[in-house]
């Protein structure tokens, strides 16, 4: 199909006042577009109609909009799946950030038009990947506790067939053993009876849910839409084909044997929260007059669990109120470091206070000892700043925290063969690959290991802020206390969220759409296998384990596992991986179409590769706030800095750019990369290219990687200014002469 490009230049939002629109039209005509039109307000009904008319008349089948950022009005400029659309940002990136009616500003706008044209010329309409085999929409939930049951119910209620796998012989999990439960409805002050039996009944009554108790998953193969799961139930082996998976295997209490310093094991009057529940249930609390709860027993303790277990405070509040229910005259002390009764549970805390529970904030528990049949607790009181003693306790309950079920097992060690040692450099590039613990839960038949990778403290979470439930294995979602410590109320919410994600997964996969975070993207990576050198970089560096490999190390892509970040494209030294609408030559062409002024014009040029997820929004916000920055820069958005192929640096340098700045997401412990470690990878790759640059006589300082979070928009002008100053000091790119 011949591409008939229509270039539409918007003159609203200050563009007309700041730019020579006729000159821009001239650039369009130089690029031999089929149609080149201007409009006062393209996003208006008339503006859209103008474009629609041209499309309907068959004059145009690819549209370039020169106006605002692609982050706005994307719904307005959607002309259906048959029409390619490219957005040239002359508003936020040009007129709102640069001097109006200025030569440099005009040059910038013209360059962006050329870049847009080059991009559009290299773009193809994506054809969605639909697997040959049938995509199923069944959702499998592993773990039949409160989280798992809630996830199963939510999926089933949404109309999806659901398979629920539980290793015990009955559903209910941890919560089934509780005597009373913390409130789940307003006013959040009254303890509730155990509601697990009701949920089990609801599950049993739902015909969409198939329950396998006394069962475990032996193997999970395949990809979203077509996972093949083998379930072992006693002597039976059951095969299920499912579309997506929710892992809700929960957590286990922290081993109390490790809490000898709090008296556990030394006196049978020191018990765990679970033991309290059992005693309460069996009526063994009569005769207990004075009871102590010690919070953070193991949690927030570098020698035990470095994290807050999140649920214990609310549980202890509940247990103290339950105890008050059994013995209204009983005396309760809660020794705590911080009461963390999040959200509505503040009311529950207040209720406990009003019920006469004594709260004592400790810095350190010095001793828990038995003295003539009663327990004595000695501690460092934070507020008084002195030693405090409380005595005559009949029972001491340790709030012993939780440990993710995903953290039990050996850490997977990568087998490195002798002949691969030479390749240790590429191994290093992914040195901080997240650990996979062989916890024997999903038993994935993935090249990258059998379970979901761990983020920290044994919890297989993905990203701390943006994407709850998302794991680093597409189509598999974690929910509840397996992924992060949380209380029962939170797990229910979590289960619902994960169920929705699982639903989104099967729906998107069935039509070839990408999942989060590029949900709706129809492109997918294609491999030109003729030129593959079996270097394995794509399989190694894919953050989502999407690419398997055969015994000859040929990559075997699983497109439904792919999140379309393009990290594989950036990794491939042979540049055999491309997307229809995002590929190496496309960006290469954009670079080549930027006009580089002669050296004596003293107009240096700096190329910025900016991550679409954080840096581009930050740049746009700089524009919205009218923060002005240096006009030497030209910005190319990338899906992820990890998709940056080093050849682009090469292209930029040989084209005569004086510097290249990479703007990627924040990495490190609280990383914000949507694709786990894209910006980190880019920085690593850059360290490799700098040697090459030095060899060529080009200072490696000309290429620099920075981290930009979305809130750094006010720092952008200074960042750019600092870099241009550095480049200015280095002088012009010597390669300019060879143009």
């Amino acid at each position: 199909m011949d591409k008939k490009i229509g270039l539409y230049i918007c003159t609203g939002c200050g563009l007309e006042e700041a730019l020579d629109i006729n000159a821009l039209t001239a650039v369009g005509n130089e690029e031999k577009v089929a149609v080149c039109k201007t409009c006062q307000q393209l996003c208006s009904k008339e503006g859209k109609e103008l474009i629609k008319q041209d499309i309907e008349n068959g004059e145009v089948n690819a549209v370039a909009i020169a106006g605002c950022s692609f982050r706005v009005n994307y719904d307005v400029f959607d002309f259906g799946p048959e029409i390619l659309v490219e957005r040239i940002n002359l508003r936020e990136h040009v007129v709102w950030t640069h001097t109006p009616n200025n030569e440099d500003t005009q040059m910038m706008a013209e360059d962006y038009i050329r870049m847009g044209m080059a991009k559009l010329k290299r773009m193809e309409l994506p054809e969605p990947y639909v697997p040959e085999e049938e995509v199923v929409k069944t959702i499998m939930v592993v773990g039949g506790g409160l989280t798992g049951m809630t996830a199963a119910l939510e999926s089933a209620k949404a109309g999806y067939k659901t398979v629920l796998v539980e290793k015990e012989n009955k559903l209910g999990g941890w919560a089934a053993n509780l005597y009373k439960m913390a409130p789940v409805t307003e006013p959040f002050t009254e303890i509730a009876d155990n509601y697990i039996p009701d949920i089990i009944k609801e599950i049993e009554a739902n015909s969409n849910i198939t329950v396998y108790t006394s069962s475990k998953v032996i193997t999970t193969e395949g990809a979203p839409g077509m996972f093949y799961v083998t379930i072992n139930q006693g002597s039976k082996e059951i095969s299920e084909k499912v579309g997506s998976i929710v892992q809700a295997t929960g957590a286990k209490p922290y081993e109390p044997e490790n809490l000898g310093h709090l008296g556990y094991g030394k006196s049978d009057k020191v018990i765990t929260q679970a033991m309290f529940e059992e005693m309460a249930k069996n009526g063994k609390l009569s005769g207990v007059e004075k009871i102590a709860f010690i919070q953070c027993a193991g949690s927030r303790d570098e020698n035990h669990l470095p994290y807050c277990s999140a649920a214990c405070c609310v549980e202890s509040l509940k247990q103290s109120l339950a105890f008050k229910g059994i013995n209204p005259k009983g005396i309760v002390y809660i020794f705590y470091r911080d009461i963390r009764s999040a959200g509505q549970y503040e009311h529950f805390y207040e209720k406990a206070q009003e019920s006469g529970v004594n709260f004592i904030k400790y810095a350190e528990i010095d001793d828990v000892a038995e003295n003539s049949g009663k327990m004595v607790i000695t501690l460092d009181d934070v507020i008084l700043g002195e030693k405090v003693e409380a005595s005559d306790f009949d029972l001491v309950v340790l709030a012993n925290g939780m440990v993710s079920t995903a953290s039990f097992g050996e850490e997977m060690v990568e087998e490195s063969e002798e002949d691969e040692k030479q390749d240790s450099e590429s191994q290093e590039s992914i040195a901080n690959k997240p650990p996979v613990i062989q916890a024997d839960i999903l038993n994935l038949q993935y090249r990258q290991g059998p379970e979901i990778p761990i983020l920290k403290h044994g919890f297989p979470d993905s990203n701390y802020i943006c994407f709850p439930y998302e794991t680093r294995r597409t189509g598999i979602y974690t929910a509840g206390s397996v992924r992060a410590p949380m209380d029962l109320l939170e797990t229910r919410e979590d289960a619902t969220g994960a169920a929705l994600k699982a639903v989104q997964c099967v729906e998107n996969v069935s039509v070839g759409m990408a999942l989060h975070p590029r949900s709706g993207d129809l492109s997918f990576p294609e491999f030109n296998m003729n030129r593959c050198t079996q270097c394995k970089r794509c399989t190694e560096e894919c953050p989502f384990g999407a690419i398997n490999e055969d015994e000859k190390a040929n990559p075997l892509p699983n497109p439904t596992r792919c999140r379309r970040c393009g990290v594989c494209m950036g990794a491939c030294p042979e540049r055999i991986i491309s997307f229809k609408n995002y590929n190496v030559p496309m960006v290469g062409n954009m670079i080549k179409n930027i006009e580089i002024p002669e050296e004596d014009e003293e107009k240096p040029r700096i190329l910025i590769f900016a991550c679409e997820n954080d840096a581009i929004p930050a740049l746009d916000m700089a524009g919205i706030n009218k923060y002005s920055y240096n006009a030497w820069v030209r910005i190319i958005p990338v899906r992820c800095l990890g998709s940056l192929n080093l050849i682009w640096i090469n292209d930029a340098m040989s084209k005569g750019f004086d510097g290249v700045l990479l703007m990627g997401c924040k990495h490190g412990e609280d990383y914000q990369c949507h694709f786990m470690k894209g910006s980190e990878l880019a920085e690593y790759r850059l360290s490799k290219v700098s040697e090459t640059l030095d060899r060529l006589g080009l200072e490696s300082e000309r290429v620099k990687a920075t981290q930009v979070t979305i809130m750094d928009y006010d720092k952008i002008p200074q960042m750019i200014e600092d870099f241009t100053e550095e480049i200015d000091e280095l002088g012009p790119n010597p390669m300019k002469d060879f143009q």
């Binding site: 004075k290 207040e350 009003e354 529970v357 008084l384 002195e386 030693k387």
Partner: protein
Amino acid sequence: MATRLDPNLKNELEEFGVKDLEKCYQCGLCTGVCPLSSNDDPFPRKMVRYAQMGLKDKLIASPEPWLCYYCGECSDFCPREANPGETMMALRRYLTAQYDWTGISKRFYTSHVFEIFSVIGFALLIGLGFLLFAGSNPDMQQARLSTFVETHVIEYLDILMAVVLSAFLLSNVYRMIKFQMGDLLQKVPLSMYMSEVKELILHFLTQKRFSECSDKRMWYIHLLIMTSYTLVFLLVVGLLSGIGGRLPAFQTDEVRSFFHIYNLIGYYATFGLLFGTSYAMIGRIRKNRAIYQFSHATDWMFLILLWLTALTGILIHIFRVIGGDGMPAATYIVYTLHLMVAVPMLVLEVPFAKWSHLAYRPVTIVVTNVKKKYENSIKFSTPAASDESQSA
């Protein structure tokens, strides 16, 4: 030895009016907003904490409740509505009861029956006294109090009462000092106290510390009541017969000129007491300030007795002088009523309840000053002493 936690003290404190103690989660905002709290003697948070933890010994030794004048800002700002100001108020009641060795204070504060019956009992006793001993033939033509009761008898009884009540009050004050000083009581030389006498008088007369609260209004009201009360107290106890006639007698049958100094003082005191107590009573009814949110039975008793005392006091004056000859019967009856109200108020409130604050507050200021001075003197003298020992 570690400090012992006591879960039962809370219940005891509640009898003295401690409220919402358990709501406090120790954020410290109360101490932060308090203009009187200092780093050395921070409150109210510390006191609330002691109370929550049941640290009776620490509470009794604490000067802080007397350093607070209850402007109510802490309660206004408390995010948990734990009413720290009221806790301080209730702690003052508790401490008053603890200082008092007779046990009357405790009963007065914790038993409504005792409170009401003791007041009524005393009143009836006074009334009975008048029935039995008042002049059998009072002048019914002209209001002449000397024909109803002999001034010097009243004066003797006045002085007797002053001595007895002072003895009770001072013994309680001594106990307070003992609690607050602890081990230091024997160590601090008397001269150190003496050097603070000026401060004692200043604080007693002006309640200067109170003026440091952000809202000055309460200080003015308090000062008004205080000065009125003190002036009229001097007239009634000291100058009833003009110290044996050396000065004009306060209680006389003559009709003084309107501008006579005693009259002016009397009018001022009447206005001060009636206005001040009415203001407080209306506030307590309307609950328009933090300090008026919660009214202990003894707060009402105090205000009502004071109000009635002032009212009957001025009525005596009016009935005595009205129309030249006055209204004799009304004068004598109101006089009796006046004493039936004033005596129980003084007997109960001065050593055992609210009036004792007048002594506890300034003394506490002095004691904390002395304590600080002494501790500083120790701190600065110790290194010198060790130098000496080294050179020796």
